[in-house]
Subunit: 509 residues, 2 copies
């Protein structure tokens, strides 16, 4: 894998001078396309051996492009806000919006590789983290990003020479750290770990480019050429897509997305499904409700103050039919809690900043820190529900969302987060009654919009989407709770009880 | 000030039951207006003595409103990210967008008051911080926010009784901390400091509401009534404004803004102004440039690695005529630096999230941490330049922006930030030549837009705006540097040299 980058590749000064101006002009041109189209964000990962040219290449990238549209993400240790959330949170928050270029020093490879080098991680864990990275990159590419990963390499002796040269020069000595020398001593170990990482994560969606860092001319031309090739490739693919879309007047899936294998729709075997199996007559008499509400609220309140909880963030998400009582259920949970303990995030149309990022970005940004809870009023399931039903997301996009969502939730659970997912169900008849009641009360009128009536008409399609969603995303790590919401009292107690039991189970583990 | 909140105010249960349902219904109605209009964010500050009902009131607010549109900001100690920026940064980042309600525990009063109580701050410093707070609140209100500040109070003996009662109850004991008991012991001292804070910051824009916390019924009705009064007042004022705007077809300033005294336009006394006094023939021969560029870049690079700099963030902002060479100057600065040291923020049209916050929010969010530098390509001066000239901001709005900007920059400088402000000037003739040259080069064409031609036509108005901007905002703390940019070499070296000297001066201080 690295052999061809340990042979002392060089390029003559003349060849460099001949080629660089052309590449430079081409890159500025390509970047102006990126800025104009705002359809692609470029994620550049700079990784590699100490002294092999990461810093110089970041510098070069700043010079090749208009640096006003480039953002650099250093490889600092995570700060306290980042430490109390899943490790990928810090990269999600620093993703550039479409049209911009993000340069990541080591990026999401940094910690996993370092941990493996220092044997804080065994092979199996390392591989699992690499799998997670592959999924992240695939998701980013599917969502329109271009991922370019550079591994800067050097032969063992060359690395030593290079570090010595840097250390000898007054202007560059500061860049050679003790850590660099330490790394140079473990050359073999680092090379092995890196090779595995590069091999395992060189995918069609996001391949690695291994570049020998010995000779500046060679390295810079290699970087610039790769950038030209990759960016032109993506822009050309977009042009093709646009042309194809023009040729066929009906909405057609984007090529990149269409290529990915997605599971076919599920066949329904029996006569019943999770929705029709639900007993909507479930009912809780008012007196019982009055007795049980303080009981479960009290238990939740005490749980929220448990010491053990400080290691866990809690995510509770609420989906359901319009007027099924999501708001009321959320209030009963909120009432139980210290207002400083939780936040509520209502999900409406995405902002333009959110639209300029991969779909899940708008949810990542609201994830709770350890020891806190966030309730999502509607959630990332919008993609496989309303966006599917109303055609905002083309089929290949919402199809791949099932896997993306499962992976997202798995990532949260693996990092000690507790997830509770509620889907609240009312019959069409009860819903109609609630709509009418809302229209009569002045201050509830804002809760009922033309969208609500529109959604009612699509109930059949929506039901199908719900059934498939439950089948595909009710996992052992993050199961769905279907809530019979025909009777509000029953629904609220079921939500509270389920939440309490979910948290208790997680804390006992 | 507090006497009337130390007399044991109570309200009968019957009176409470009579009034609360009405207030509750009214608040939900008012909130639905807030959500619909999205023109006002409500900032509620909950401050007061331990045991006087802050937590309960936060809870109450969550119950009175639809909690999905309420966000609570606890009074945690600042985290890593917050500590390395000016103290107000953490509040700017947690400001709710228009349409939402933010509940701040102690908010921006927390640290100043605590510091004064513990005598970490003398009276003069305390007063200065209160002045800063007043300006912040005035700005927020001018920008459309509603600020409601509650001080929950108790008589000395009542406080002790209340804490004892809370501590005796199993469900509330956790809320009484050692710090609370400590505070109860320093009752007199805390009362004095708080009284000064409340007195000094009770302004027309953002008055305090002092509420005795002894009796729950009394306290809750007082809070709910205040909320109803304040929110109705603001909504009614907006209705009046809208009606007035309809009556007079021409754009009229918003009432709240118009009421504030703004300085009149400056009279020009002499024949010359800062722009015409500028010697645009300033020129640097190419050979000198080639010699000086590495000199100043090297000095800047070495400065950026100075230990002392780790206490300072650097803000460099670039304004100027279109095609004056801002981009080129920024590149020459960037070239000198480690890419991890700086960021570049190009300022274009605000995103919808930015529009939902006070004007300066979009700049606060990009402020550098200590030890880092951010270059703004265009800046907060847009309000008194392009927004003034093109009429995007009504006159009272851009008039008050001068003071807001000076206060903003003062706040940065007071917290060890280094500011360099560059305004780059080219003649109309040279500008025209550069426009034409850009149009000829394919990959530079994106740099020239219809806006640029439009701006050219308004050069006279723009000049006037520049002259007034320089006069009003070139302060000793943050002076403007006018850059003769007719000759690019001269301009770039002047920018680099000024930046180096500005940083050196700050480090020597």
């Amino acid at each position: 894998m690295f052999e061809s980058a340990e042979i002392g590749n060089t390029l003559s000064r003349e060849a460099y001078e001949r080629e660089m101006p052309r590449l430079r002009a081409r890159l500025i041109e390509l970047q102006s396309q990126l800025i104009e189209r705002r359809s692609t964000e470029v994620l550049i990962v700079l990784a590699g051996l100490a002294g092999a040219g990461r810093s110089e290449s970041a510098h070069l990238i700043g010079e090749l492009f208009d640096p006003r549209h480039v953002q650099v993400v250093p490889d600092l240790p995570p700060n306290d806000e980042e430490r109390c959330r899943p490790p990928m949170w810090r990269f999600w928050r620093s993703l550039p919006p479409k049209g911009r270029i993000g340069v990541f020093f080591s990026g999401w490879y940094g910690l996993p590789v370092i941990d493996r080098i220092n044997r804080r991680n065994d092979q199996a864990h390392f591989d699992a983290r690499l799998e997670g990275i592959k999924r992240f990159e695939q998701m980013a590419v599917d969502e329109g990003a271009l991922v370019i990963k550079f591994w800067f390499h050097l032969g063992r002796k060359d690395q030593r020479k290079r570090l010595e040269a840097l250390a000898a020069d007054e202007d560059t000595a500061w860049r050679v750290t003790k850590e660099d020398w330490r790394q140079a001593k473990s050359y073999r170990r680092i090379r092995n770990v890196a090779e595995r990482a590069v091999r395992e994560t060189s995918t069609g969606a996001a391949p690695w480019f291994v570049i020998e860092g010995l000779d500046r001319c060679y390295r810079e031309i290699a970087v610039a050429r790769t950038l030209v090739d990759e960016i032109s490739r993506v822009l050309a693919a977009q042009d093709e897509d646009a042309a194809a879309a023009k040729a066929r007047p009906r909405r057609t899936p984007r090529r990149a997305a269409a290529k990915r294998a997605a599971p076919p729709p599920l066949a329904t075997l029996g006569e019943t499904d999770v929705l029709s199996a639900l007993d909507l007559t479930a009912h809780l008499p008012k007196d019982d409700y009055r007795e049980q509400l303080p009981h479960w609220q009290g238990r939740l309140a005490r749980l929220s103050r448990e010491k053990k909880l400080s290691r866990h963030g809690i995510v509770a998400l609420f989906e359901g039919y319009d007027a099924a009582g999501k708001g009321g259920a959320i209030r009963r949970v909120a009432e139980a809690l210290d207002p400083r303990f939780y936040g509520i995030v209502p999900i409406a149309a995405p902002s333009d900043e959110e639209r300029a990022h991969p779909y899940l970005w708008r949810f990542w940004r609201h994830l709770p820190a350890q020891g806190r809870m966030v309730m999502f009023d509607r959630s990332w399931y919008g993609r496989v529900l309303v966006e599917r039903v109303d055609g905002f997301a083309p089929e290949p996009v919402w199809r791949r969302a099932y896997a993306e969502i499962n992976e997202f939730e798995q990532e949260l659970v693996e990092h000690e987060m507790i997830i509770a997912k509620f889907f609240m169900v009312v019959s069409a008849a009860e819903q109609l009654e609630r709509f009418r009641a809302r229209e009569k009360v002045a201050f509830k009128r804002y809760k009922i919009t033309p969208d609500d009536w529109h959604n009612r008409e699509k109930r059949g399609d929506y039901d199908a989407a719900v059934i498939e969603m439950i089948q595909r995303t009710s996992t052992e790590l993050a199961p769905w709770t279907l809530v019979e919401a025909e009777d509000k009292h029953h629904a609220r107690i079921k939500v509270l009880r389920t939440l309490v039991e979910t948290i208790e189970r997680s804390l006992d583990r």
